[in-house]
Symmetry: none
Subunit: 503 residues, 2 copies
């Protein structure tokens, strides 16, 4: 290890410890902590956050980091160390550009505005939330402009924070393609799909049995129970303390069979990514998945390419029927497969099917772009939201709560985040096409043998953590640059076959 | 707030945050964390311990602490602040003597060794645990000797950490009395008690129903579910993050009704203590119970003086029978009361009855004394353990898991801790005698109204946290010094009455 890096390491280790502790409190708050704890516990979490920043952002680290830019210093670093330094520079670039006073004021604002959003959504009153959202947008523009320094569109800066190498240019191409192909496809599919009776999915399903079956599914796709645990929370999520302790949650509904099953497969995909990061980089700044988009590509890959495939269910559908004989005895495997792939326009993004999902993202992307270009104001959001929902999905939200207020992201200042969901899904389709070429993918699923699939993902993606960007990983894996055609073609092929659209 | 104390406060707050984070990791490890997490997580815990240590023990704090010894500075402090300063001085005395590197290595060791103990106990293999225990003992001796500085027996140092004012001298007197009175009493009681058929207790009791009834019992005695949670672990324990988040665990056996019920009442006693600490001192150095012994006095008070009383069960026994009608329909209340107070020598401390319990403590006390005097080695522990169990209880453990490996304490480095259980029980008997004089204690139990009892304990003991010592609290409450006679007399009276020994 280089001497300069060695001096830096204690600061990094400390920061990781504080961050991990903060993560454990977050996990605990979402899954277990008693009702009245929050007020007192938030002091602890506040201190841990402060100390996290102080261990990374201080004069000693700044000096060491500057020294490590020198060529002879850089030469002494291993690839992992270089990746860590790159990451640390990114953190400095992001944080140091913002005057501390503004940063603090902004954090206070989001803490308030997220609460205001909860209330506004509950009361279906966008106007109560709008002034806070306006302030957030103003701050985000200001912060992005500090870093854009005139050379970049501020929205590009925000997009780049979530997905390096993806900006307005790349996304416009992706989303244009999706709009052209998916809007008419969705129309055709949803007409065909109305004939599929899915009432079986909404019968009464025992919670304990669901819990047990979800646990089984999670292990079946490769979640390692020696390195992770499952709990329950209001909204499913994945949280990694390090590669030997990765946690997922689920939310089980007694009147919906699919919901918990596909949530658990989705979160298992995220978890398998984090569990497969190399031991050498876990507990460092580059020890987690490389980007939001790449993470989402893995969860979607498990949820959709694997979990919604007929071949996946072939060996285990019998077990599902045996678990719920009363509800499923008359539902054939192919009926079930059509059921889990049934597609139709709907209002709520998180409940959308695979086919209509990207249209929800496009609505948000186009609106964010317009806000940051100054084309529209915050006050106009509900109107634009409803127009676009009508245009792309053919429906109009009956309330703002089911429309522009449905997602929490903007209340936390997360602009530029939504496109990652679509980028991830597009990446998963490209990976899927590649893997089907180089291995007997469907055969593995039929045999219930997911190990070669998981091993290949580990070796090509997971083990690298964030030492490589998603673009680098994708290119090294497939020999191609990111190409949105795979996504559109995947959806067309899949739905045309499943619902015999060409007959 | 005095200006000097104000300068000190950020250091104290930071230390509390790190300590609380460490506690949450401890809770998590015992109740939830996946098997393979320990090795990686122990690094985080190590860093948090290190930072805890650094925020309290440093030149700036040392200087402020020194300044606060001056009379005019002291005059400016509130009572709470004075108590915090006293506690901080104690920590300085305890920690300053230990080199930070050793302190950190020791904390990492105990995090691993506690897991090794779990496995060794499961595999009944003391040899797998012995090397870790040996290392812990070596560290404890070293640490104690740093502080004993030749003037004190190192074991006295450890005893004093758990109970100020109690050392080998005091404990030899207490335990001699107990040995003289209790060994013959236990013999008489266990002969009489053989006529009580307790087979009902070992029938099959549904785990979910037990869990539910234990939760009920916990709430019935006063555990506040808005400020605490219950989980399961190998060995029941209580852990407090602050007075609004106090957690207890239980261990439920399908073939033992009593075990989980009395564990939960016991842990609830600990939890009620922590939940009742004054808001003004929670999250400070004096925000927890004042000593191990006083803590144990409260858990024992709830478990034995309240929980094993006929009056306690009078209003709720019907509910218990209704929960398990098949198993309990022919068991009368008085039969049940004799059952839960049946005394006979047995192997497992945590399952021991109230009468034989102190003998289990004496075994551990005498062994710890011998280890720290160098009279015996860790390798000899199983042999000595079995010898002493034979001497005091008249039985020999068939396995080490049921013998020397039964308790988790030593795996956490907790030597000098066990005697606190006996001190606590003796205190609880003294408190009980006092409270029966000043309030209609039995009447409250009969009415199912534990509030006045709990309120009195809160006002006399709990709210003070550790701003007063257990000796001060006991004197202020009862007007008397600690007196072991109450304990011996309590046991004699109770068992003579219940089993008609004088007839």
């Amino acid at each position: 290890m280089s001497k300069t890096f060695e001096k830096l390491k204690p600061y990094l280790d400390k920061a990781m410890a504080f961050q991990t502790a903060r993560s454990l409190f977050e996990w605990d708050e979402q899954t277990l902590a008693p009702l009245e704890a929050a007020e007192y516990t938030s002091k602890i979490v506040g201190t841990l956050s402060d100390e996290y920043f102080k261990s990374l952002i201080n004069d000693k680290v700044r000096k060491l980091l500057k020294k490590l830019q020198e060529e002879k210093e850089l030469d002494e670093l291993t690839d992992h160390e270089k990746a860590i330094i790159k990451e640390l520079n990114k953190i400095y670039e992001q944080l140091e550009s913002i005057p501390p006073k503004e940063y603090r004021a902004y954090n206070e604002l989001t803490s308030i505005s997220s609460r205001k959003w909860v209330k506004a959504k509950k009361d279906n009153c966008f106007d109560d939330f709008a002034p806070y959202l306006q302030k957030i947008v103003d701050y985000k523009k200001k912060f992005a402009n500090y870093r854009a320094k005139g050379t970049k569109n501020p929205y590009d800066v925000l997009l780049g924070d979530f997905e390096e190498g993806f900006g307005i240019k790349e996304l416009d191409i992706l989303f244009e393609k999706v709009k052209q192909e998916i809007i008419p496809l969705l129309k055709k599919v949803s007409e065909k799909a109305t004939t599929i009776d899915k009432s079986y999915n909404y019968l009464d399903y025992d919670l304990d049995k669901q819990k047990e079956f979800c646990r089984y599914l999670s292990g079946y796709v490769g979640f390692d129970f020696n390195r992770g645990v499952i709990a329950e929370s209001a909204h499913p999520f994945t949280l990694s303390l390090h590669n030997h302790d990765v946690r997922i949650t689920n939310h089980i509904y007694s009147n919906n069979l699919e919901s918990a099953m596909f949530s658990i497969i989705h979160e298992s995909g995220h978890a398998i990514y984090e569990m497969s990061v190399d031991d050498a980089i876990t507990q460092t700044l580059v020890g987690g998945g490389t980007s939001m988009g790449m993470h989402e590509s893995q969860s979607r890959f498990f949820e959709n390419m694997i979990g919604r495939s007929e071949f996946f269910w072939e060996p285990i559908y019998e077990k599902l029927v045996a678990t719920y004989p009363k509800q499923l005895k008359d539902i054939s495997l192919i009926h079930f497969i059509k059921g889990i792939n049934k597609a139709a326009p709907s209002l709520i993004r998180t409940e959308a099917d695979e086919l209509s999902y990207p249209l929800h993202i496009i609505i948000r992307y186009e609106i964010e772009k317009m806000i940051f270009s100054g084309e529209i104001t915050v006050a106009e959001l509900p109107k634009i939201w409803n127009q676009k929902t009508m245009e792309y999905l053919g429906i109009t939200p009956p309330t703002d709560s089911a429309g522009v207020l449905q997602d929490t992201h903007w209340s936390w200042g997360e602009f530029g985040y939504f496109p990652s969901y679509a980028i991830g899904t597009a990446i998963s389709a490209q990976i899927y096409s590649h893997m089907k070429e180089i291995m007997p993918f469907d055969q593995y699923l039929k045999e219930g043998n997911l190990t070669p699939i998981r091993e290949y993902l580990k070796d090509s993606i997971h083990k690298y953590g964030s030492t490589k960007t998603s673009k680098e990983i994708l290119y090294n894996m497939t020999g191609e640059e990111f190409n949105a055609d795979y996504y559109v073609n995947y959806l067309k092929d899949k739905y045309e076959k499943l619902f015999h659209l060409n007959k």
